[in-house]
């Protein structure tokens, strides 16, 4: 556990990191960003908390088991969305033209629309959750393991 200044600043900053990561995830389909990038940023926020507070404190509410559950749910949502278009073919974009994220983007230069792209923004959100939880779980597990404690399943 680091000093009081570091802990206070980390407490305040993690919200900004979370918002920035979620912004990257949401706008993945029309500006640089996306699921992996945003998820990695949020995971770096979790790593900041881990460094500031020490793994003994963090493990009390951010257990590896919960993170694995979130990661699995994210991946399941991704595959279910991909299977959703299987009437036509696997990974078919069945939400284009429907009210949910359905705007068809006009090809060519222009302003980007968040509310477009079909299943792609939803898949980005799912991947964002998976990567967030997955990378945080990896770092947390390695922190606990290097400190000498065993990982509970």
């Amino acid at each position: 556990m680091l000093s009081r200044i570091v802990r206070t600043v980390a407490n305040q900053l993690v919200l900004f990191v979370l918002v920035f990561g979620l912004y990257l995830i949401m706008h993945g389909h029309d500006s640089p960003g996306g699921g992996f990038q945003g998820g990695a940023v949020v995971a770096s926020g979790a790593v900041m908390l881990l460094v500031a507070f020490g793994s003994g404190q963090i493990i009390k509410w951010l257990t590896v088991r919960r993170l694995v559950t979130v990661a699995c749910c994210g991946a399941l949502v991704f595959i279910v969305l991909a299977l959703g278009g299987t009437g036509t073919s696997f990974f078919h974009n069945f939400l284009l033209g429907t009210p949910v994220f359905g705007g068809v983007p006009t090809p060519g230069p222009g302003h980007g629309h968040v509310w477009s792209g079909g299943i792609i923004p939803l898949m980005e959100i799912a991947i964002g959750f998976t990567v967030m939880a997955g990378l945080s779980a990896v770092v947390l597990a390695m922190a606990r393991f290097s400190g000498g404690e065993e990982i509970e399943e």
């Binding site: 991946a75 595959i79 299987t86 036509t88 073919s89 696997f90 990974f91 078919h92 399943e153």
Partner: protein, 522 residues
Amino acid sequence: MDFLTTHAPALIVALPLLAAFAIPLVSRAGHSARSIFSLAVLGATASLVAILAVDVYSTGIRVYTFGATLPEMALPAGYTVPVRIMFQVDGMSMFMGIVITTVALAAMLYSLQFLKGQSGQPRFYSLMMLLYVGMMGLAFTGDMFNMFVFLELASIAGTGLAAYRTGMADAVEGGFKYIVISAVSALMVLFAIGLLYSQYNVLSIAALAHYMEYSMLDMMALGLLAGAFVMKLAGVPLHMWAPDTYTVAPAGTTPMILAASYTSMYALYRVTFTLYGGHIDTAAIGWIVIIVGVLSMFIGVMMAVHQTDIKRMMAYHAISQGGYMLLGVGVGLAVLADPVALASYGRDAINGGVFHIINHVFYKALLFMTAEAIFFRIGTRDTNKMGGLARNMKWTTLFYGIGALAISGIPPFNGFASKLLIYQTVLNFSPVLSAIAMFVSLVTLASFAKVFYAAFTGPEMPAYREVREVPRSMLIGMGILAACVVFFGLFPGLIVDTIVAPATEALINQTGYIDAVMGAVP
């Protein structure tokens, strides 16, 4: 039913992937829920593979484009090159699919009982499913970058399985060697893909084969791809990781990692026969494959003879038998440009090499499972400490005997059929190679007989008086493979006509593969 047949290639990959991520959630409900769930998913996938096999063997190459309005439409409207990721299932891919699925079923049945009392069991089943998805994707894909992604997926899942018993020091070392080799070889594959993309601007295998001009950069890409795949399949100059990794992998995972190596061999054949097919000097490349095969056969069996660890001996034999497959297909590749030789013995040589893949995976998986059964009961792999086990473990002894006779090429078992094909055809090509192959077979028989006498026959050792037979699910897993070994040995002609000949035809017929995607584009 029609829906299943149309979408089978995608569902075969999607269903186990779904299961791999659902298993940690399902395990909250208990051990038996998880076992039933994984067996059910694998059984459903196996029936989908059977449906797809019937369809591919009757109608020809199946193309499945992801995200298109019609799955068979490889070229989107108005395009002349394929831009979407696609799966292209021909005879050879279907053959590998059948091999992988059968081994996965047997391995899953075997592992059910083996894991009782181990920790982290949801991870084991998830990793098995991910390894299965990686191998099936590698076998079915028609796109080079997709091949790289599935290769990495199979490598990572295979490492997780190989190093599963983290409480044992040698397991983590074997796993570490596997991931380093896999990472380096996959990065070399990616470098070659970058070279190919920079020249032709397409990533799909059929389109690359169509536009291939074999410049200097393409030669470099071929060298990198061949080297990387030889590293992954444990061909001899680059085989150092295989004995360590095959020895330490637990329970039914060694057959799966073995299947991953032979799927890399399939990828090697896909690159040399289909991607570069009409342009390379097949005699030269064929001779290189033959030399790697002969070295693997010889050095593998020579290193195996003096091993005392039973699984390490079997791992060296796996390297040696891989040499047989490379020899058979290499002879076929060397005579590919010569139609007379191809018709008379080249096609049968490739038949022999490809048939040996499925035979070898079956009897080697059976042998590894018997070795793990012995380890499960008496806790050691050292043949110097074993003795007299035939009294207590009758079924295991029988399965080991079947496997040992099959690997040595003794008549009623399947090893004899494929080895005879290889001997006869290689004799036409070069008698020296055939003589080396027969000598290697003799030494194989000798080493397995030595271990049989040491471990199973002989006086009963007092330490092993209480040893019982292994649990029933393990016996069922071994029994499936033993039944396949005997069946393939009794009816080799049937198997060759149904499964192997379409695979050979698919390898030789490059233009069919290209036309299935590019249609009539000039």
